[in-house]
């Protein structure tokens, strides 16, 4: 018997098309790329599907960015190099029209390898540390805070608490977002499918066994409700 395929720990499918840093450089064109300090990221060949506004070249100074977060319109003034994660965590409070303080998504690795910053953008999970704020304009952005608006926890969140799928809790918002997205996309997901969905989320405290149990239970509850 040949052993089963090794786990895909960091699903490459995580970032949707056109929202990567690379995509951003393509979008910016030469002028933009040269003008920012992120040029060491390298420029790719030109690609399609580029936002015409971005083709003008933006930055390096702060620009107005309009975002739709948890169904609300917010404005934030950030340099084009600022990630969606940092824009929401650090800049929203200071420069936004409405003083919201969205620090639920965590910055842990800042380069797409831990999942602590997971958000749902246009229905797909993204590592928000690998998405630039300017590129997220016009998209539906959901953060962990959006799950319990009105004070009622989402079934996934309730089960995380009930099963103790968290310890220090620093990874937990990312886990919760991956789990919610997994169950929304695959209602009735099996434990194996859920495990694969959560493979891109890293936890140092070792909550994985109980986080999995929590999502399986939440999945069963959500399915029952349908």
């Amino acid at each position: 018997m040949k052993k089963e395929k090794q786990p895909a720990r960091r699903p490459s499918a995580k970032a949707p098309k056109g929202v990567s840093r690379r995509g951003f450089f393509q979008a910016m064109g030469l002028a933009g790329a040269a003008a920012t300090t992120l040029a060491q990221g390298g420029c790719g060949s030109s690609g399609g599907g580029v936002d015409p506004a971005l083709q003008q070249g933006v930055g390096p100074d702060a620009i107005d960015v309009a975002l739709k977060v948890n169904g609300r319109d917010v404005k934030v003034k950030v340099e084009p190099r600022v990630t969606l994660l940092d824009a929401l965590r650090d800049h929203l409070k200071l420069g936004s029209t409405e003083p919201v303080d969205l620090t639920g998504s965590k910055r842990v690795c800042d380069r797409g390898s831990c999942g602590a910053c997971t958000m749902i953008v246009d229905g797909r999970t993204v590592y928000s540390c690998t998405v630039l704020a300017v590129e997220a304009q016009g998209r539906q952005i959901r953060t962990v805070e959006g799950l319990s608006e009105g004070g009622k926890l989402h079934p996934v969140q309730e089960e995380f608490v009930a099963c103790d799928g968290l310890m220090c809790g620093f990874c937990t918002p990312g886990f919760v977002m991956s789990a919610v997205s997994c169950l929304e996309r695959t209602p009735g997901a099996t434990a194996d499918q859920i495990r694969k969905c959560l493979d891109g989320n890293i936890c140092r405290c070792g909550t994985q066994p109980r986080a999995l149990e929590a999502v399986v239970k939440a999945g069963a509850r959500m399915k029952g409700r349908r």
Binding site: K3, E79, P173, R210
Partner: protein, 710 residues
């Protein structure tokens, strides 16, 4: 009368979901990293790009002229030596993090390189080499080996690993006045963090300085976060200069460089057993590194005590950041050496590894003798649960094909006695209860523990208690290290509540026409034990206090609490793996962990600690290693791609058994479950593939190398 835990317990030992869980899952728990104060500046540190060198140029002026920069300071000066890649050189604070990063790059700095020590082996070859520290006990080593009929030799080791706390080290510093500093610090010790800022370093000279450390939530420490640390002091200094609050949280690479690491240990071991399968002799030549000035935490021989042993250890320096305590300091390394040795010796003698361990559990003369019955029980339970009888085979899975399966086990011990702690319990005339304790919650569940204890003692429900922890303004409790918090905090809170209850009883007794000693508090009532119908509701009883709330203080140092807590646990773990001998990949099928506990306070969270230990142990066993470039001594993997932590699919099934001994009182168990996983996994791999890999982490390359030598 001495205080003791109630015989009949309503809350203690039940499964209580963590009380701060809802805030954490909702993303509303504010960690240090999340503190966005008005006017906040972002601090960054310039770190050396050489692992060993002298600073020859350092000019902050170009950085100070950069947009947004509000304060800058040097940490080292020209002529100073940097001792590891990432050593702190200078720092600044700017309006935005992006500006701070740019400005750091504008600092002019140059180094004159000095030759770095990049590995333990390079450190060993230094001239003169570090001298060995020798310990010898029992029979002379030659005499001990003369008694042996079976010997085995091996080389075992564990590489340096880093803590990888998901919330990095750091704090937000906010000066409320020239002599009033508040810090929000990611720390395992709010009291010591305050003290480190108040009593040491640049602020010591400020008259009547008040420092408060607020840490309601923190994202993991594992032994690496006991003070404000250099970056904390720097943040406070920058904040003082700029007259604005400063946030300085390390970035991921900095966390690997300077957030702490666990020392390595490598050991050439010769061991002997007599014909009855008794360990008689142990000779160890070991070395390891704790970084650029400190050594390894040598704990050999671990658990098993032969008739004679000799340990010759060399502490080696390398150009890397100093070690920090890591979950059960020294023990996982010692366990990895001893329990792999035990396995090889059992193999050499043809004995079953579980039987061989049972035969060599501590006996008279070994300070751990009292734990032997516990280990015996655990080894039997674990063997049963993993399917040892059916699944164990002699070394090397005879199955055809590249996938080999194997079983392994290891045992562990740790103290976990109660740490110093004080707590206060305030009961108001309206019946409300507030309990304060200057401890902190690392994810271990202290926030939940405090109301559990109070509710139990006062006969109330958890929701009736306001538990307050995570601030140095509360009664002092020690840092959360050594698995000492659960015991210390339980005692302090328990006694504070017992003392407060005595005062309530004193007021209620006349109303119930009884003596205070005749009363009991249970189910929200205060009643006469012998005549439960004679009762007052909790509120009625508290109303008798009149206008004044009462406050009582409990202290772990109180002499009257002996027996409420204890120290010393044993544990055993079994691992079932499959190894692909063509690729060297190890796959974990199952882990069984049997953890000895005293009085379990919160069963749900106690189990989580054991799960957490096993998960961390597997991650360490399979993936984690700090790699230094052999020429420059710069860390090659200061990230989370090449410094890998285990993900869900790497873990297999994990089964946790708690072995309760409530009569022993509370014993902390945060650390022990991480100890034996590495050794048990290593033994399982050897059982599967037929050769000893020896050095952890057991990467595919190490497996293939070991097979190639077969």
């Amino acid at each position: 009368m001495p205080y003791k835990w109630p015989e009949k317990r309503q809350v203690i030992g039940t499964k209580v979901p963590r009380l701060d869980g809802a805030l954490k899952v909702a993303g509303k728990a504010k960690y240090s990293y999340d503190r966005n104060l008005p006017g906040l500046l972002h601090g960054k540190i310039l770190r050396s790009t050489v692992a060993h060198g002298k600073i020859v140029t350092l000019d902050l002026a170009p950085a100070e002229a950069m947009p947004g920069v509000k304060a800058a300071m040097s940490i080292k000066k020209v002529g100073d030596i940097v001792r590891f890649g990432g050593d702190e050189v200078a720092a600044l604070a700017a309006e935005t993090e992006e500006q701070a990063r740019d400005a750091i790059r504008a600092i002019k700095v140059a180094y004159e390189s000095l030759p770095p020590l990049a590995s333990e082996e390079a450190g060993l070859e230094r001239n003169p080499p570090p001298p060995p520290q020798t310990t010898e006990k029992g029979l002379k080593i030659e005499e001990a080996f003369a008694k042996a009929t079976v010997t085995s030799e091996g080389f075992y080791g564990v590489a340096v690993i880093t803590h990888v706390c998901l919330e990095t080290h750091g704090l937000v510093a906010d000066w409320k006045a020239d002599d009033d500093l508040v810090v929000y610090c990611s720390t395992q010790a709010v009291g010591n963090t305050r003290n480190s800022l108040k009593n040491h370093g640049p602020f010591k000279a400020i008259a009547n300085l008040k420092v408060t450390c607020e840490t309601p939530f923190m994202g993991g420490g594992f032994g690496s976060k006991f003070s404000a640390d250099l970056q904390g002091t720097v943040a406070a200094e920058l904040a003082r200069k700029a007259k604005r609050p400063v946030k300085l949280m390390l970035e991921r690479d900095e966390e690997h460089w300077a957030g702490g690491n666990r020392p390595s240990l490598f050991a050439k071991v010769k061991a002997g057993a007599d014909k009855d399968g008794k360990l008689v002799a142990l000779d160890v030549e070991s070395y390891g590194t704790g970084g650029n000035s400190t050594g390894v935490d040598m704990r050999l021989p671990y658990i098993y005590l032969p008739e004679g042993h000799r340990i010759r250890n060399r502490d080696v320096n390398v150009n890397a950041f100093n070690k920090r305590a890591f979950r059960a300091p020294g023990s996982p390394q010692a366990c990895a050496v001893m329990d792999q040795m035990m396995d090889d010796l059992a193999h050499a003698g043809g004995w079953d590894p579980v039987e061989f361990r049972l035969k060599n559990l501590p006996g008279q003369g070994n300070p751990l003798v009292n734990l032997s019955p516990i280990w015996e029980k655990e080894l039997k339970m674990g063997a049963e649960a993993i399917g040892w009888k059916q699944g164990y085979h002699k070394r090397g899975d005879p199955a055809a094909g590249p996938i080999k399966r194997g079983l392994g086990c290891a045992i562990n011990t740790w103290g976990g006695g109660p740490g110093g702690a004080q707590a206060s319990c305030t009961i108001a005339p309206d019946g409300s209860v507030e309990v304060r304790c200057g401890t902190q919650d690392l994810g271990t569940g202290t926030t939940t523990l405090v109301p559990i204890v109070a509710a139990e003692i006062l006969g109330l429900e958890i929701k009736d208690i306001q538990g307050k922890i995570g601030s140095s303004a509360y009664p002092d409790a020690g840092g959360s290290g050594g698995s000492t918090s659960c015991g210390g905090v339980s005692l302090a809170v328990g006694v504070a509540c017992m003392k407060a209850l005595e005062q309530i009883f004193a007021k209620a007794a006349p109303a119930l026409d009884a003596q205070p000693g005749d009363l009991e508090a249970e189910g929200g009532k205060v009643y006469v034990k012998a005549a439960p119908a004679k009762s007052l509701s909790w509120k009625q009883a508290c109303a008798l206090l009149g206008a004044q709330a009462i406050t009582a203080v409990g202290d772990k140092a109180d002499k009257e609490i002996q027996g409420m807590a204890a120290s010393g646990v044993g544990g055993a773990q079994f691992v079932d793996v499959s190894v692909d001998v063509e690729t060297g990949q190890v796959r974990v099928n199952k882990v069984v962990a049997v953890a000895d506990c005293g009085l379990v306070m919160n069963r749900l969270l106690c189990e989580s600690q054991v799960y957490g230990g096993v998960v961390q142990g597997l991650s360490l066993a399979l993936f984690e290693e700090r790699r230094l470039d052999p020429r420059s001594a710069l860390m090659l993997n200061p990230d989370m791609e090449w410094y890998k932590l285990a993900g869900h699919s790497d873990l297999g099934e994990i089964e946790v058994h708690l072995l309760d001994y409530p009569e022993r009182g509370v014993i902390g168990i945060g650390e022990p479950p991480v100890i034996p996983t590495q050794a048990a996994l290593a033994n399982a791999v050897t059982n599967a593939v037929g050769v000893r890999v020896g050095v952890l982490p057991i990467t595919p390359k190490r497996v293939l190398d070991a097979l190639a030598k077969k």
